[in-house]
Assembly symmetry: C2
Homo-oligomer: 641 residues x 2
């Protein structure tokens, strides 16, 4: 943080005023500086990523670091690495990862770019047969990358061996010109992430040496013989790792919005004065505002606990995979798909609602939320579209329920053990939630029970729907999404329970423990209330219990209110990074709004005395009646212009 | 449409590339042209607004036309109108409406700007005592307006008579300079609406003549005597009118996103090929996508029918008010508050989900959704913050329930007549929904019954909560929001029923009637499913019925799918206005994406051969190893950069 805070090249005071081109070029200067800092401070890859994140803006080499190099390390053979990796590590070549096409994203098998072997010259011929085959959305491709990992269908003698990665030079290292046979464009403005040059690329019979196919796993020999890859189970792990990262990131992004909104809503005062001579109440004292803000703070903690647990599970998985033990794989894949989907969805929804909670001022860029939100939005789409991902989770759960049907409940995983309840359907149908008082709502077992019952029930319903005549798997996408959501809410509840039973929780002061327990109960009551239909539908939760949940939710909001600002600030976001007039740590929200707006270019340097340059051309002729002469009809008061 | 489509000044091909300043100045040229067109074609006020909307971008005079002139017409005395109105109608003065302050929006009584009478000079002294008193968000104030209606506390001899409107000159008609005693700035970039110069303004003992107070209702005489306004009930009508407009607008905006998304999702193909040699399925054939899109189309119709009914009620109200009959006033105020809140909320939520539905490409500005969405977003905040508004509705419903308690059910309004059910609490508690088959779900009476029961129940619960010890009105904001939502859903259902029983519906072809009935049933099932907890909580809707709803919903999606594109297109949005590569009427989504991106400034005119201007400064030094020299550690394969 100190490096970016003190170096003027990372200055962000003009962030909200720059158009796309200026912001992009400024990003490139920042990118160069990042590389210089690496050499000055001998930074590790991890440090570099951290530094880039502290500058809070994408630079094109982000994808070089996070996708291009890891792919070389993972998929290139040792000889290939010896040839390319040092140059990549030194940024003497700048890479990107070109997989998605204009016509295909999620369905990898639909990719159309071909790499056809020409035996006579020992080369691959890369080609884009249709417009829909164009590589699209490729970060760093548009203007900066010199090389790409291109994913293309590998074809030998007319036989298609499926998608494989190739190392492809794009631009001359001499003058940066795109090589003949390739067409590249930047894809233009996006909702956010506009410092990234996402690119479009088409190949026209473009040739690269046979050795440029990444050959750590699959191989093609000089005489054109294709050798299938030995399956690399560790690759599954990598996908999981990225998804865990997104769960943690969704907690962080939500907390960033919580910090800004909570601070501002504690500063702003609005509403009827009920006590004579008192000031207006803080907006954060309105119950509706508490209802919109405090559960979001609770979610940041719940998601963080979930991310921590997922990282520990990931480590365990990788240890097992290294020993060729694949027991955990399907389970981890299932919940990490669902949790990526669920957590990014509620995080993005939460950030936007926190912005709206700030009323009119939340709509100003100076509120500090819109800019990072716009850039974070695609987390709901990339690394698996959020609705598609839920099908992975649901498919796995249907397999698990089969274990129950086969009398093999003992083979259920820890996260799906609740399906055991379905062994006795009639008992299951008679189950009722045994909560009777507010105190019961703090009981970890009772809390887990309600999520477990609901998850088991919706999975059983999906199973039943699947068995209906004429129903295909793709008819059940809506039900699958419901099932995945239910399973994920159960796992998050489990993670909260693990945390509250952990040594690190035990080390907290009693007062902090009380606050944290309250916050987690608030998380649960809010979650239950939002999906209430799922819990009451079969009578498991009664009308009396619903009323209890609503009443306790209200009383918890009041109880947590005094700690709201502290809880919202606990992530420790520095002011530099928040870049928010309304959410700065000193609480000078209005003063900072005015400081910010004085930097607006329309307020500066246009003409003398703040008169805009269009005045002579556009305003003066109207005001002087030189254009658009028109006489109002003589009808007295009229709403005719 | 033809006027804006053919005049090059309204060209929109560069819309998504312009930075704020360029876009603002371009808007001013468009504004001047609008005024010229008024004179060329002798356009009415209504035509002018239509023309501005067809150009699909705010211009500063939008507020002159929609706020400044109507306020003069409504609040200025006849003499004042004679003095100012013609100049305003001719755009020789340019006005804005300055009410909101940096510290106060919703709570009007908290406004701090003062207008103090100086008897000796017969002047008002306008003053902003604190930074929080600064006028803020005032559209057209920042750079363009010459005059403002300023809302300020009227003070005579130390006595505060509350907020009143004043006619205030801001800038010289000679050179457009801001007069001494006033400080004005543009407030800087916002999420959207950046062609509007929203402004900041502070007064420092700024003097205007006493006659500049708008004196149609309240008056102050030469000797400083304040005369209270005769209450103008028609003013309530105006507020209602604006809210009805927002309901209709929320239907239109949602339909705009539906048109774009539905077209694109019918063009794009993705997913497993189930029939040999077939193409991939259209994305719109995925059930999950249908579930996200088709109910949104249904909502556009439901909201439109609601808006049409609201306009007819508004006319009725105005006729009655003209005869001093205020019977309808409270009812109309209650539902128009709630419906403005409910419809803008679901419209904005729907637009953003439709964008996400389009996957990665939805994130491109060329999708055509992000730009208009960003500008439409504040509809959830202005004309009454959406959550605050629900309290108005809830308060009214509590008054209506009192009628029931007093045995005066006959005095209930048409929209609240359902509260009559509460006369017999024990009968009410035993009510069960009598739906037994899919066919019953089309029965208008049964559909109304489920909304009516639920609305009555949550209102009764709010009443009970209010009677608990120690519970104040502001503790019930969450419950109020729930009550308002329930009431609004009932009214929308009523409006749908009115429409399906109307003559205009009867005139449709039988085939169209079938489609429309299906669509409205889809609307209901989707609405019920989303709020299921509210309907099942007290057992009114059974688990069997929930299962039925879900199954029928799925089957309706399949039934409506063939008509989806036709229904989504029925608003007839012209391509010019949509400005969407993905949603254009010819379905050439990918071709148009490429046409659009070729206009990106980074792809043009930076240097020869598409090499960006930062290459020499930022990229070449890295590629040539001139900066940031660094040697990777000798550890072989490593993820150290």
């Amino acid at each position: 943080m100190r490096l970016v805070e003190t170096d003027p090249i990372f200055d962000r005071s003009d962030r909200y005023f720059l158009g796309r081109s200026e912001r992009f070029h400024k990003g490139l200067r920042r990118m160069r500086r990042l590389v210089e800092l690496r050499s000055e401070y001998n930074l590790s890859a991890h440090d570099m990523i951290t530094l880039q994140q502290a500058s809070d803006e994408y630079v094109p080499i982000y994808l070089h670091m996070s996708m291009f190099i890891p792919t070389l390390e993972g998929q290139a053979s040792d000889e290939q690495q010896a040839k390319w990796l040092t140059a990549a590590l030194q940024f003497r070549i700048l890479g990107c990862y070109a997989q998605t096409e204009l016509g295909h994203g999620s369905n990898l098998s639909g990719l159309e770019t071909t790499a056809t072997l020409d035996r006579s010259t020992d080369e691959w011929i890369l080609h884009s047969p249709h417009l829909s085959s164009a590589k699209f959305w490729i970060g760093a491709l548009g203007k900066t990358a010199t090389h790409a990992i291109v994913v293309a269908k590998l074809i030998i003698d007319g036989r298609d061996h499926g998608a494989h990665p190739f190392f492809v030079p794009l631009r001359s290292l001499e003058d940066h010109k795109v090589f003949p046979g390739i067409v590249i464009h930047d894809i233009g403005p996006k909702v956010g992430a506009n410092t990234m040059d996402n690119g479009f690329m088409m190949f026209k019979q473009y040739r690269i040496p046979r050795e440029n196919m990444l050959m750590r796993y699959a191989r093609v020999s000089r005489d054109g013989v294709y050798t299938k890859p030995i399956h690399d189970k560790l690759a599954y792990g990598a996908m999981t790792y990225v998804r865990v990262g997104l769960v943690v990131e969704s907690a962080e992004l939500l907390s960033r919005a919580c910090t800004i909104a909570t601070r501002y809503l504690a500063v702003r005062r609005q509403g009827p004065v009920t006590v004579p001579n008192a000031r207006e109440p803080q907006v954060l004292d309105h119950l509706m505002v508490q209802y919109r803000v405090l559960p979001r703070i609770a979610q940041t903690y719940a998601l963080r606990f979930t991310g921590m647990w997922m990282y520990s599970m990931y480590d365990k998985l990788m240890q097992q995979l290294a020993q060729n033990n694949v027991n955990m794989l399907a389970d981890v894949h299932a919940y990490s798909s669902g949790l990526k989907s669920y957590t990014t969805t509620i995080s993005m929804e939460g950030i936007e609602d926190l912005r709206k909670c700030m009323g009119g001022h939340g709509y100003s860029m100076f509120s500090g939320i819109p800019d990072f939100y716009a850039t974070a939005l695609p987390t709901t789409t990339y690394e698996g579209e959020n609705y598609l991902l839920t099908q992975q989770t649901a498919k796995y759960l249907l397999k698990q329920i089969e274990l129950v049907r086969q009398g093999r409940s003992d083979a259920l995983s820890t996260t799906t053990d609740y399906l055991r309840q379905l062994v006795e359907p009639s008992l299951f149908a008679q189950q009722r939630w045994s909560v009777q008082s507010a105190r019961d709502l703090d009981d970890a077992n009772l809390v887990l029970a309600v999520y477990a019952h609901r998850a088991a029930r919706v999975i059983r319903e999906l199973e039943a729907a699947k068995q209906e005549d004429g129903v295909a798997w793709h008819d059940l996408q809506v039900e699958s999404a419901r099932v995945s959501r239910a399973h994920c809410q159960y796992i998050i509840a489990q993670c909260i329970a693990y945390y509250l039973a952990s040594k690190s929780f035990a080390r907290l002061s009693p007062a902090t423990q009380t606050v944290m327990r309250r916050l987690m109960t608030l998380y649960h009551l809010y979650t239950l209330e939002r999906d209430m239909g799922d819990f009451t539908e079969d009578g498991y939760v009664s009308a009396m219990q619903v009323a209890l949940i609503r009443r306790e939710l209200r009383s918890l909001l009041r109880a947590i209110r005094p700690d709201a600002v502290g809880l919202a600030e606990s992530y420790g976001w520095p002011d530099f990074l928040l870049n928010s007039a309304l959410g700065s740590s000193d609480g000078r929200a209005y003063e900072r709004m005015v400081e910010h707006l004085q930097r607006e270019p329309l307020n500066n340097g246009e003409m003398d005395d703040g008169v805009i340059r269009s005045y002579r051309e556009c305003l003066r002729p109207l005001i002087r009646g030189e254009v658009g002469q028109w006489t109002p009809p003589e009808t007295g008061r009229s709403s005719k212009l």
